[in-house]
Symmetry: C2
Subunit: 323 residues, 2 copies
Amino acid sequence: MQTNEQLLSIIENYLAQTEFPAEPELLYAPIGYSLAGGGKRLRPMLVLLACGLFSDDVQQALPAAAAVEVFHNFTLLHDDIMDNAAVRRGKPSVQAKWGRNVAILSGDAMMIYAYRLLSGVPSAHLPRILRTFDDMALEVCEGQQYDMDFERKRKVSVVEYMHMIELKTSVLLAGATVIGAILGGASEEDCRKLHRFAIELGLAFQLQDDLLDSYGDERLGKAIGGDILEGKKTYLMITAMSRADEPTRDILRTTCCNEKLSDAEKIAAVKAVYDRLDVPRLTEQQIELRFDRALAQLDTLSVGSERTRQLKEFAAGLMGRKK
Amino acid sequence: MQTNEQLLSIIENYLAQTEFPAEPELLYAPIGYSLAGGGKRLRPMLVLLACGLFSDDVQQALPAAAAVEVFHNFTLLHDDIMDNAAVRRGKPSVQAKWGRNVAILSGDAMMIYAYRLLSGVPSAHLPRILRTFDDMALEVCEGQQYDMDFERKRKVSVVEYMHMIELKTSVLLAGATVIGAILGGASEEDCRKLHRFAIELGLAFQLQDDLLDSYGDERLGKAIGGDILEGKKTYLMITAMSRADEPTRDILRTTCCNEKLSDAEKIAAVKAVYDRLDVPRLTEQQIELRFDRALAQLDTLSVGSERTRQLKEFAAGLMGRKK
């Protein structure tokens, strides 16, 4: 099979070749703009890698891989309207560049386009793949709604948070993986295991994202402490809230909007609480647990370890580690 | 086959039975609210009637009929955000009742739900039905974009307008009809003829809608002259503009925002121009032409006239006339 780098460039080529009608320009131009905006292409990579577990022909999975990537970019496009986000991957978001109405409608067209790509899979697999995709897509919407609900909620439990990120992040990775596996000819049982693999991997990935936002990582050029300054309810914040006494909870709740503090002071104050409550170590433990559970699923598949090696490497790379 | 009244109540029952999850409430409650909001159920009726042309089992087409109705209501939900509309079918629109973000996301979920319903059709028909649905859905988005483009355009030709309403209105009727026909077992050729039937019927229906908005109809409780007061580019306005001299065009362009005139005076002034330019008669001619073309298609189908009778009656009823 091709290396992961080769698969990535096959995906990029396929997406770049996808042509959209020229008219109406305000409907189709934002779609091309979104898809050309880069990103790590994790989801289409998972489609191809999962297909490759069971079949030597991963090219057959390209339309489905593109469908999943187009759907993912559709969710970003609409999320940016809901969050009023001006920037996406270092460029103006569609809603900032073209306005809200264009973003709504071109997002809608993008979702339909994802289904059109999906409709191109071999018809023997179509019913099962559609069902997987529909369920996945609805759950992603549920995750986004819970995420918005949480902004207005005073108290969010760790269990509620894990459920939300499972829906918002993991489910799309799981859908991509299962769709790839179906196309490769996987059994129902292998599909279930791969679903679990991707759910756990997504949780590990999202928790690591939360951790890195506050504790950083030189590999990412990301500003540190953004979540703290926004007062976001991340895994770190929710864990800290669940372990803190009432005066400490007050610090956690109020620091982000304390006008007497500089940004650096706010970040330092919240991180001091996190450190005192052992939050970074607990988060790391949870990441390890989820990542190990993910990999363990791969060892129970009906295929040999020589076939799972590449997906394991990809998962490790996603978590920024060698395996 | 059941009468049209019976079919309508079968559709209403089926839609009312559709259950949505209770949580997250802000995602699913607006979907139930939209679907319970009434409407004429034209599109699901077309699915069942077209199926009934070729098969005595129209019940099999119910999931697809519901899918088309859910998709239609999704478009209304997002259109209401784009138009900032507060009222839909005499009740607060979803965006007025729950806010813009809820309307965006529950609309997205609604579109996915439409696909989920569609995925339930017999798998032998699934690829063809999906392709029909995808193409239809994308064209409806194109129509909505052209409609928004026209608001900012100074000059819209009759040809451009007809193309826009074909995409925005006719295409959905045509998709519904073709999907029903496929489920009934129609040939490709009969599907093409039924597509043409529904396109022409949709054009007749939309032009009649334009005409009634200015010239009224006691059967509808609709306020008269709304399009004129909004300065909307309807078939009447565009036809008048294409026939008027420059001073008359100025009247047509400026009357709606002339602060010296009352609403009644504005409506009277524009209608005086329409009457002088023979616009109502030209519009009626166009409606007749389109409606006749629609019905003529039905006579070329491979089924006997005893099977087309009910669809003809429905089409005539839609246009408010006995056939």
